[in-house]
Amino acid sequence: MLKDITIGQYFPGDSLIHRLDPRFKIVITLIFIIMLFTGGSFVCLAIGAVYTLIAVLLSKIPVKMFIKSVKPIMPFLLITAVLNLFLVSTGDVLWKWKFIKITSDGIDISAFMMFRIILLITGTSLLTYTTSPITLTDAIERLLSPLKKLKFPVHELAMMMSIALRFIPTLIEETDKIMSAQKARGAEIDTGSFMTRARNLVSILIPLFISSFRRADELATAMECRCYHGGEGRTRLRQLKSAPRDIAALAVTLLFFGAVITVGILLK
């Protein structure tokens, strides 16, 4: 059932990683991504792997959750690996059949790419696993707030994001209900020909749209009643305060980043 889908994939907890300031977490994740892409050798990735492993262990989130996060992109990963394997033609030829050949460089590069993408996914999952979507939105709003000076609607975008997050569970529940109601009137949604299914989809989408508009309308009135007038002069209940641990985490990350760059230069 639709209800069983978890959105945002947030795992509430109280680990060191959970408690980090979300703004720092976003910045750290960005540095981590840059680190992975500047490191051009296996040694660099090994350093990245150590870093990721420490972070994963500190988060106290079961390792199998990270394996799960990599799973959906596995086909994509394999295709990239296979393409690299066959298309790279430099290096020692290890195996050859007609015009297809596998070279040592091919193996190196495809293994390297897979390694890098797995680290990338694990690291970014760590961000979403340990930070609730609403906190994330909030942090993004604050990180982007300098853009307000350029008339970029930072607050409005964040508000839209957080309202969307708020209503996702409501709309999923509603979709579930409408689907059941139409099924009870004999609409075939999981079976039947493509055409009947498409027609029956309309019987779900129209009520869903209508009710979403009604909700939006009522919500707008309710927000007005509570004096909403855009981002100007707003104060916030949620206070983001950076603690020494945030600085420490950033420092450690920069240290690893430095190590990756140094190793990269030394190996050249």
Binding site: E174, R185, G186, P207
Partner: protein, 287 residues
């Protein structure tokens, strides 16, 4: 013979997850043909889960549901047919309306049954009449109607499938007293014409008292009781203990009994209370 029967019906949500919960726990009951049954139970008692089993929207974790003596899950491909025979009207059914005319929306179910146009027309007009929608409304957009009318269009949409069993989940929720009375009255009218079995879920025991032959009460996933209306009201005390509302008038007569004024009868409608009191007062005058 019972038209609907459940045998040790059990349903557990999200098995194996931390949210695992048994919503219906070994419920066995038989629903006789042609009766009007009131279904009660507070939110989370399992009543909504139970009724979604009756038309095969949910499949039991264990146990069976028999329709006309036949296990509805015996042939999985037949389940759509079961949905035509056991019609289910959800809460706030007006939110499922989607066609551009009232006629088309009521006709959606019959059309899915594959009926021919003449039969569809007969059914749509007949149920529209039962539920009190006049013929000139048929070509109007359902979205221009009042809330109560929309609700009746949605109910007619299920009735038009002419199901042997019609189940309505809180058909009067959110309506004002006049709208509520009108809907109940029209459902009764439909019942009189078709003699079909009807189950109505309601929080209002006052409403249930006005139509039900039998009452089914769910509590904490289990069948609390399923008995004739009079017998269920005789247990008013127990029923208010599990958090359900007993009609005000029943409470008054319960209190009178405690104070030594016992009328020896279960009272659950104002009309009956009035007749009973006047009869007793007259008897006293004679003496």
């Amino acid at each position: 013979m019972a038209i609907l029967e459940t045998q040790e019906l059990t349903y557990t949500y999200s098995i194996g997850s931390p949210f695992e919960k048994t919503a219906v726990d070994h419920v066995s009951l038989k629903i006789e043909e042609g009766q009007m049954i009131g279904v009660m139970g507070h939110t989370g008692s399992g009543k909504s889960t139970l009724i979604q089993h009756f038309n095969g929207l949910l499949r039991p974790t264990s146990g069976k549901i028999l329709l006309d003596g036949k296990d509805i899950w015996e042939d999985k491909n037949n389940i759509r047919n079961v949905r035509f025979q056991v019609g289910l009207v959800f809460q706030y059914p007006e939110y499922q309306i989607f066609e551009e005319t009232v006629y088309k929306d009521i006709a959606f179910g019959p059309k899915n049954m594959g009926l021919d146009d003449n039969e569809i027309k007969r059914r749509v007009l007949e149920t529209a009449n039962d539920i009190g929608l006049s013929e000139e409304l048929m070509e109007r957009s359902p979205f221009d109607l009042s809330g109560g009318q929309k609700r009746r269009v949605a109910i007619a949409g299920v009735m038009a499938m002419e199901p042997k069993v019609l189940i309505l989940d809180e058909p009067t929720a959110g309506l004002d007293p006049a709208g509520r009375d009108k809907i109940l009255e029209h459902i009764k009218k439909y019942h009189e014409r078709t003699k079909n079995t009807i189950l109505i879920v309601s929080h209002s025991m006052e409403d249930i008292a006005s139509f039900a032959d039998k009452i089914l009460v769910m509590n904490k996933a289990k069948l609390f009781c399923y008995d004739d209306t009079v017998n269920v009201f005789a247990r008013a005390d127990e029923i208010s203990k599990i958090g359900l509302d007993v009609p005000q008038i029943t409470k008054v007569f319960g209190e009178l009994k405690k104070r030594g004024l016992d009328f020896g009868k279960e009272v659950f409608t104002v009309g009956y209370a009035k007749d009973l009191l006047i009869r007793r007062l007259k008897e006293r005058e004679v003496r």
